[in-house]
Structure formats: structure tokens, C-alpha cells
């Protein structure tokens, strides 16, 4: 789709991400794409994928990173602040209200029953998200080792995350580099890659 894109104002960034936040039950990423690409046309499809690769790579919630990056790109720090506020403030207040309700009524048997059902579904949502990513991610056999090792270390052995990341992130990058070198024949432009 090659429709012309529209440059938003900070106010539009705020309302756009507010819509993402309030629609985004059980995950906001789907809505982030829908609002910024399809409804508001801030970005084209390919541009969205490119921006998302940064947002998924950087630490922190992907959609919040997207709000910051788009805000910065279109309107500087005022845009980033507007995107942040749109995405976070209303859900924060709602969550606070939920927290108060949980404190008062969380122990009622009825509430406990409902939460047991919702928690079982929420756990399933997380598992399916992991499985879907496993199928999409370009993971070669040697790189699977890193994923399995991460699961074993974090889920089974309960090692602290910092140590796990310090070992496995470099390992993954080295394996990827090794695989990449074998898989991709040297192209004329490949020589200028630099040290890392």
C-alpha cells in the first residue's frame, strides 16, 4: 500500500496512542500497528517493520518504545512525551483502580474463582506468544541451543536474569555471526561492516 503518510502533531500522537492503550486488551502491539499504519497513516507497512525492529531490540515494552520513537521522529521530545502520556496515563489509572479493588475484594471466593479462570487463560496467551515468535524468528539449529539454554536457566534452574543474559546474549551473537558468515557468501558490500 503506497498511500501518502501523514505527519502527526503531538496532540494526534497523544490521541493515537490513547486509542492503542484503551483498545489493547491482552497486548497492545496489534493495535499499535493498526492505528499507526492503517488508521492514521503515520507510516507505511515497510517503515513500520523497520521501526519495530528497533523497538523490539531495545529493552522495555515494545509498544512504549514505538510511541517514543515515533514521537521523537515527528515532533521531537514533545512528541515523545505525548506518545508516552497517551499510552501510559489512562491504563495506569485503570490499573490503580483494579489494584484497589483487588486489595478490597481479592480474597472473596467468587473473585478468586474468576481470577483462577482468567489467570489460566493469561498463561496460555503468554505461551502462545512465545510459540508464535519461535516460528517467526529466523532461528537456525545452532541458535536454538541459546533459546533452550535460556529456558532451562530461567524457567527450570531459576538463575538470576543478569547472569543468564551476560552469558547467553554474547553466545547468541557469536553463533549468529558464525552462521551468518557461512550462510551468506561475501557480497561486494559486505567488507565494510566494521569490527563488531
Amino acid at each position: 500500500m503506497n498511500a501518502a503518510t501523514v505527519i502527526p502533531t503531538p496532540y494526534e500522537l497523544f490521541t493515537g496512542f490513547l486509542r492503542v492503550a484503551l483498545c489493547g486488551f491482552g497486548g497492545v502491539l496489534y493495535w499499535a500497528r493498526r492505528v499507526s499504519v492503517e488508521e492514521r497513516r503515520w507510516l507505511g507497512e515497510a517503515e513500520f517493520v523497520d521501526v519495530m525492529s528497533l523497538c523490539q531490540f531495545m529493552p522495555g515494552p515494545n509498544t512504549l518504545n514505538l510511541a517514543m520513537v515515533l514521537g521523537l521522529r515527528f515532533c521531537g521530545w514533545r512528541g515523545a512525551a505525548a506518545g508516552f502520556a497517551g499510552l501510559m496515563v489512562a491504563p495506569f489509572l485503570i490499573m490503580l483502580a483494579m489494584g484497589m479493588l483487588y486489595t478490597s475484594y481479592g480474597n472473596l471466593p467468587l473473585v478468586q474463582s474468576v481470577l483462577r479462570g482468567v489467570a489460566a487463560v493469561a498463561a496460555g496467551m503468554m505461551v502462545s506468544m512465545g510459540l508464535k515468535m519461535a516460528m517467526v524468528a529466523r532461528i537456525r539449529n545452532i541458535l536454538c541451543v541459546v533459546g533452550v539454554a535460556a529456558f532451562a536457566a530461567v524457567a527450570v534452574l531459576r538463575f538470576p536474569l543478569v547472569q543468564v543474559l551476560l552469558v547467553l546474549a554474547p553466545a547468541g551473537v557469536v553463533l549468529a555471526w558464525w552462521w551468518h558468515r557461512d550462510a551468506v557468501p561475501r557480497s561486494p558490500s559486505a567488507g565494510r561492516g566494521g569490527e563488531s
Binding site: G24, F25, G26, G27, V28, L54, C55, Q56, F57, M58, P59, G60, P61, N62, N65, V69, A80, F92, I94, M95, L96, M98, G99, Y102, S113, V114, L115, R116, G117, V118, A119, A120, V121, A122, G124, M125, M126, S128, M129, G130, L131, M133, R138, L143, C144, V146, G147, A149, F151, V154, A155, L161, L168, A169, G172, V173, A176, W177, H180, A190
Partner: protein, 173 residues
Amino acid sequence: MDVLRQLALDFSVLSLLAVGGAPTVFPEMQRNVVEVHGWMSAAQFADLYAIAQASPGPNILVVCLIGWKVAGLAGALTATLAMVGPSCVLTCLVAGAWERFREARWREVVQLGVAPLTVGLMLSSGYLLTRSADESLAAYALTAGTVAVLMLTRVNPLWLIGAGALIGLAGLV
């Protein structure tokens, strides 16, 4: 160390470790909150996660609930700002440089190498949430059913959350 400072410290570290998004740090969050500090049980953690899933907005706001449970309003604000602040600043700082290295080979290699790690951590989150949320065979069946439906159809997950609430209300899990 007082509890607010502990919340701020824990979550700002997690903020910078959340490579690939919030779900990758749920295992560490649970380990800190339940095992290291003993602020709540694993089942309560799963409850809070369920509430966050059933509410609109980014799932990371489960930290708002954790902060609220541990230290009230000040806790909710501290935990939330600590969890999102550092990663936001870092992303803003890196955003410009990332554009410049669009074609660089090392960028692709790094992305490729980190992806399996993210997947492994996400599946760890799913595994741990399942273990702490599900107390009966029926609950495991509900989790498995959710996975099957989400893998095979494009149904809005909100319907499944509603169904889960009803199944729970009926006392089936």
C-alpha cells in the same frame, strides 16, 4: 533498604534487561517479588498478572499492581516509573544511531543472535505463569485450550479472557 527504594532499584534494573519486551522479564520479576523479597505468593503474582492481562494497556503495568500491593500509591508510581523510565531514555538515545546503521551487517547479526534468547525467555514466562496459576487438571486444560485456539485461529484474545472468567465463575477450574 526501605521498600520504595528496593522497588525502584529492582524495576529499573529490569527495565534495562527487558530485551525484546516486557514478557522476557516476568520470570525475573516473579523470582524477585516472590522468592527474594517474599512480598507475595506465586499464586498472588499470577492473580496480578491476570488482572493486568484483563485490563487495557501495556502488560508491563503489572508492575503498577505489584507496587500498589507492596507499598500503596507511592509504590505503584515508583514501580511504574522505574520500570519504564530507563528503557525509554535508552531507546530515545539509540533511535538516531539505529537509523544510521540500517544497512550494517553487525546490526543484522546482533538481531539474529538475540532473537532466540527472547523466545526462550518468553516461553519461560509462559511456563512459570502456568505453573503458578494452574492448580487443577481442568486449569491446565484451559491453558492448553487457550494456546490451541490462539495458535490456530485469529480470534480476539479478549473473548478468551471473558470465557476464562466465566469458566472460573462456574467453579470449573
